[in-house]
Every structure is written in structure tokens, then in C-alpha cells.
Amino acid sequence: MTIPAGSAPRGKLQRALKNHAFRWFCTLCAAVSVVVLAILLGSLLLQGWRHLDLEFIRNAPSRKPEKAGLGPAMWGSIWICAACALTALPIGAATAIFLEEYKPASPFIRKLHGFLQLNISNLAGVPSIVYGIIGLTAFVQMFGLVGNLNEPGFTVGTPDDWYYLQLPFGRGVLAGGLTLMLVILPIVIVSSQEALRAVPNSLREGALACGATKWQMVWRMTLPAAVPGIMTGAILAMSRAIGEAAPILVIAGIVFIRFTPQHLMDEFTAMPLQIYDWAGRPQDEFHRVAATGILVLLAVLLTFNASAVLIRQRFQKPLQ
């Protein structure tokens, strides 16, 4: 190679060294994540194993750390997550179907679709505590339109009945579940969209060729085919919901709950909130209890995620 005047070749050794050094640098940075996770889990185990037993899962929280338990919090979590799932799934799936299957023809509706999509992205970025505030105003207080917390405007039954309902919902399980639904709705929509997109077009065309209407095609062909994907997305969204403390904090507050919820309007607490409560206390012993609570929470999450992976693998058989 002719070396132009006014330049000098770069050292080959230097370039080779830079190449190797960069590779090691990248590996080191990647290792940081693994190390951090190891420290995180290690510290949790170290702090939390002492209190970990069945008693812990059954007991109610108490002033004495040795007697504290996660029982009511677990039940509270189950109630609100059930309420959340039962509302988020239909609404989310329906929205996804509308966005994916009913593709617009006219440019105006296409713009509407784009706007809707942008709207969902925006909602996904809203901090969860803001959802908590909205839930407080919209579900707990219902804008003050139907009475207030002390004197509900409308009731069905009494607080002793299991079917007790009141408007406004008050600081109850239903309000908590609906607020969580707001938080995870964007996630459910987006993952359902992905699941629908993964269904090959040949299936859709086959159904239409048999004389099905658009609605029949969606309901009988596309949706069943997309169900595993939608379920996986829903499970992952639920694992997000279980861990959310901020919105629950706004709805329920830190209350001393010793019993499981008896009806939809009942007061409650949730696992992450209980953990927050314990973690915020000055006594070291409560910190250990918090660590135990975290271990239980993580175990629940692990089960959820593992089942999502299993479902995904089980039904991963190609649809063609």
C-alpha cells in the first residue's frame, strides 16, 4: 500500500490490543449484572431465612417481629390480582383484537389507530403512583358523586354479607383490583397484539375461504390460535401486578389488617405493601421479616414466570 505523505501507519499491535481490551471490558460489564443479582439474592436469603416457615405464611402481622406473618397480605394480593385479571384480560384482548384484526381502510381511521397506539404507549409510561391517584379519585371516591367514604350513596346488603357492594367502592379490594388493572392494561394490550400478529395469515385466509364472516373468523380461528400467546402475556402482566406497591399504597394506605378480605369492598393489604411497611420500620428484626416476605413474594413470582415459560414452550408448536 502506498502510504500517502503526511500520514503514518497505525501500530498493528496497538489495534490488536485495543480489540482484545474492548472484548474484556464488555465481558466485565456484562458480568456486573450477574454479580449484582447474586448479591441481591444472597443478601435476601441471608437476612430472611430465619423467619421462613409455614407459620410465617399463615400468621397475621403483629407488633412482635417473631410473630409477624404474611397471611392476610397474601390473601389480599390474591383478591386484588383476581379482580385485576378478570377485568384487564377481556378489555385488553378486545382492544388488541380491534387494533390488529380490523385494520382500517380509510386514512382517517388509520390516523385514529395511530393515535390509539400512541395513547397506549403513553399510558405504559405513566408512573404507577399516578394510577394510584387516579384510582383513588375514580374508584375509591368516585369523584364524590355518589356520597363519600363514610356515607356511601348506594349499597347492596351489609358489610357482613359476602355479596356486599357499595358505591363509591371505598378503600376496598375491588377498587384496588381496578386500579391495578389500569396499570397493567397497556402491557396486556401490547402482548396480545404480538400474540395476534404471530398467527399466520394463512389461517385467517383459510377461515374466510370457508365462508366465515370476519367476526366468526376472529372468534373461532384467530383467537383460539393466539390464546397461548395471550395467556403468556397475561401471566407476565400479572407478575408485574403482584409486585406493584405504589398504587396499592395510595388506595389502601398502611392499615393494620389482620384478617383476609370477606367481600369486594373489604379493606385489605397486599404483599408488597406489607413488605414496605416492615422495611420502613427502624427495628432491625423487622428488616429480617421484610426479607422473608420478599423471599415469599419472589417465590410466587418465580412460579408465575415459570408457568408462563412452560405454556409458551408447550404450545410453541408452529401454527402452520
Binding site: M1, T2, G6, S7, A8, P9, R15, A16
Partner: protein, 302 residues
């Protein structure tokens, strides 16, 4: 299908070739002397046929992708400062062969090779060679133009900046010279800072040629450079190749037989991983010795 020709056929063809290809053994010469030699050659007049040396020497070269053998016992001499066309139907291994000359197949984990492949006496296949330096000496232009998403100037300057500590005025000069040699300067001289992606397909390919030239290679590999372009751009690039052969050894893979006939001095015909025949372009196209070659060049298959 006609019967498979053995690799001996290629050797026999070469041995019986009317034009002997004398070789200079440069394996003892250091790289500094080589560059001096190259400089000297650049300033000399274009070599004529009787004095051509071999740029790339191939003996018994075979390659595999995993268990699949892509090339069988290739033996050929690629002469210096001439255009050698590699022709053959799809999947015959000509692109694979081309990519071994600059070790691009290193990017494919399952690729391996055996035999001899020498560039000016340097064993290209040895594990000890500096592949980075090899690729500086052997430039490549790809089938689909692949300019970087940077400015036109930065595209051409990329190679020199990698290998040289170079001052701006010298670099400006080098960029201009490369763009001129690629017949692109007049069209872009006012917009060197614009994105390369704004150029047309034909311009982008000429930019890729300029980029390859700027690094100062001895050999230029071109893998079907015109297949993604319209006829007008194709014609311009073919003109370019004719101009470039004064300075660079060019190996061009092409699907288009007329292009091979127009552009090249030497042609090698590949079929299903074998080198069936190689010789001067005139001979291959007018008096092919092998019946398979004859059938291919007359368009009966491919």
C-alpha cells in the same frame, strides 16, 4: 445432467494453455519491500500479457460449510493487474471461493478450508496471519451496495482512518482521489457531508468502490456488483472496471455472461463446487475445451 468433470481437467487445461503464466517467487520479500515494489509497479506502464505475474495462487483448495463440501480441489492462478471473471450457475461456489480470498468466511462459524491459497506468496489460510491486514490488501465490493449510514466523506475515509494516522488535508486529498477513480467525484463534490444513503443505487455502488479503493488494496474482489443495478449504472461500473485494472487485480463474480465477456481478461467456469475450466476469456467463450463449459456459455443451462 452432463457428467462431473474431475479437477484434473482444470489442471490439464492450464498446462495446455497457449499462454504460460510465469510466476515470481516473492515469499522471501518483506512487506515494506512489497509496498515499494507495489509503488514501482503503480508508476510503471500497464503490464502486457507476456509479463503477468500471479497475484493469487490456488492449489488443491477445498472448502466446507460444516459437513457440506462447497469447493472441490480448486487449482488456478489469478494474474496480477488483470480482470478475472468467475462464472457459473447459482450455487456453484464462485462466491464462496471469492470470499475465501479475503477470509470473509471467518464470519461463518462452520466454514473451513484446506489446500493452498496464496496472496503474493503469503499463505492466506494460515492461522497466524493478520487477517485485518489481509483485508486491507484485498478490498471487497458486495452484491447489494452497503454504504454506512454516515456522510459520503466519512464512508470513503473509513478505511484510511482505520489503518493510518492521517492529517486532514492529506485525507481530503485521498478521499478526492478515490472518488475520482470511482467516477463519482463530479456528482458528489459539493455534498460530501451529506448522508451516503441519499445517493441512488448506482452512485452508492460507486461509493462502495471508492471506499474499497481508498484503503489502498492490491486486489479488488467484486461479488456480482451490478446485479442490483439498472443497465445504465451497470454500464458505468463496467467502464470503471476497465479503468481500474491498470492499478488493481480484479476478481469479479458474475451471473451475467455477456458482462464477463465484456469486462474480463481471464474467465474461470465453476460448476457445483468444481472448477471446470479456466483460460483467457476469448478462448472460453469462443473455443471452450469442455462440453459443459460450452453448454453454459451458449446458454443451454444456468
Amino acid at each position: 445432467m452432463t457428467q462431473m468433470q474431475s479437477p484434473l481437467t482444470a489442471d490439464i487445461a492450464l498446462a495446455a494453455s497457449p499462454r504460460r503464466v510465469p510466476r515470481i517467487d516473492v515469499s522471501n520479500v518483506t512487506s515494506r519491500s512489497l509496498s515499494l515494489l507495489a509503488e514501482h509497479r503503480e508508476n510503471a506502464s500497464p503490464s502486457d500479457d507476456a509479463e503477468t505475474e500471479t497475484a493469487v495462487r490456488v492449489r488443491g483448495f477445498s472448502s466446507w460449510y460444516g459437513d457440506f463440501q462447497a469447493l472441490h480441489d480448486i487449482t488456478v492462478d489469478i494474474p496480477q493487474r488483470q480482470v478475472t471473471a468467475l462464472i457459473g450457475p447459482s450455487g456453484c461456489g464462485k462466491s464462496t471461493f471469492l470470499r475465501w480470498v479475503n477470509r470473509m468466511n471467518d464470519l461463518v462459524p462452520s466454514a473451513r478450508a484446506s489446500g493452498t491459497l496464496d496472496l503474493h506468496g503469503m499463505d492466506v489460510l494460515a492461522g497466524t496471519i493478520d487477517v485485518v491486514d489481509l483485508r486491507r490488501r484485498v478490498g471487497m465490493v458486495f452484491q447489494k451496495p452497503n454504504p454506512f449510514p454516515k456522510s459520503i466523506y466519512d464512508n470513503v475515509a473509513f478505511g484510511p482512518r482505520l489503518h493510518l494516522k492521517i492529517r486532514k488535508p492529506v485525507l481530503d486529498d485521498l478521499v478526492e482521489r478515490s472518488l475520482r477513480r470511482a467516477a463519482l467525484w463530479d456528482e458528489v463534490k459539493d455534498r460530501l457531508k451529506d448522508s451516503a444513503l441519499g445517493l441512488s443505487g448506482g452512485q452508492q455502488q460507486r461509493l462502495c468502490i471508492a471506499r474499497a479503493i481508498a484503503a489502498g488494496p492490491e486486489v479488488l474482489l467484486m461479488d456480482e456488483p451490478c446485479s442490483a443495478l439498472d443497465p445504465k449504472s451497470t454500464a458505468r461500473i463496467e467502464e470503471l472496471i476497465a479503468e481500474l485494472r491498470d492499478r488493481y487485480t480484479i476478481m469479479i463474480v458474475t451471473h451475467n455472461m455477456q458482462q464477463a465477456a465484456r469486462v474480463s481478461d481471464l474467465t474461470a467456469f465453476f460448476f457445483e463446487g468444481w472448477l471446470v475450466e479456466s483460460g483467457s476469456t476469448e478462448q472460453i467463450f469462443t473455443k471452450p475445451r469442455n462440453s459443459q463449459t460450452e453448454e453454459y456459455v451458449s446458454g443451454r443451462f444456468g
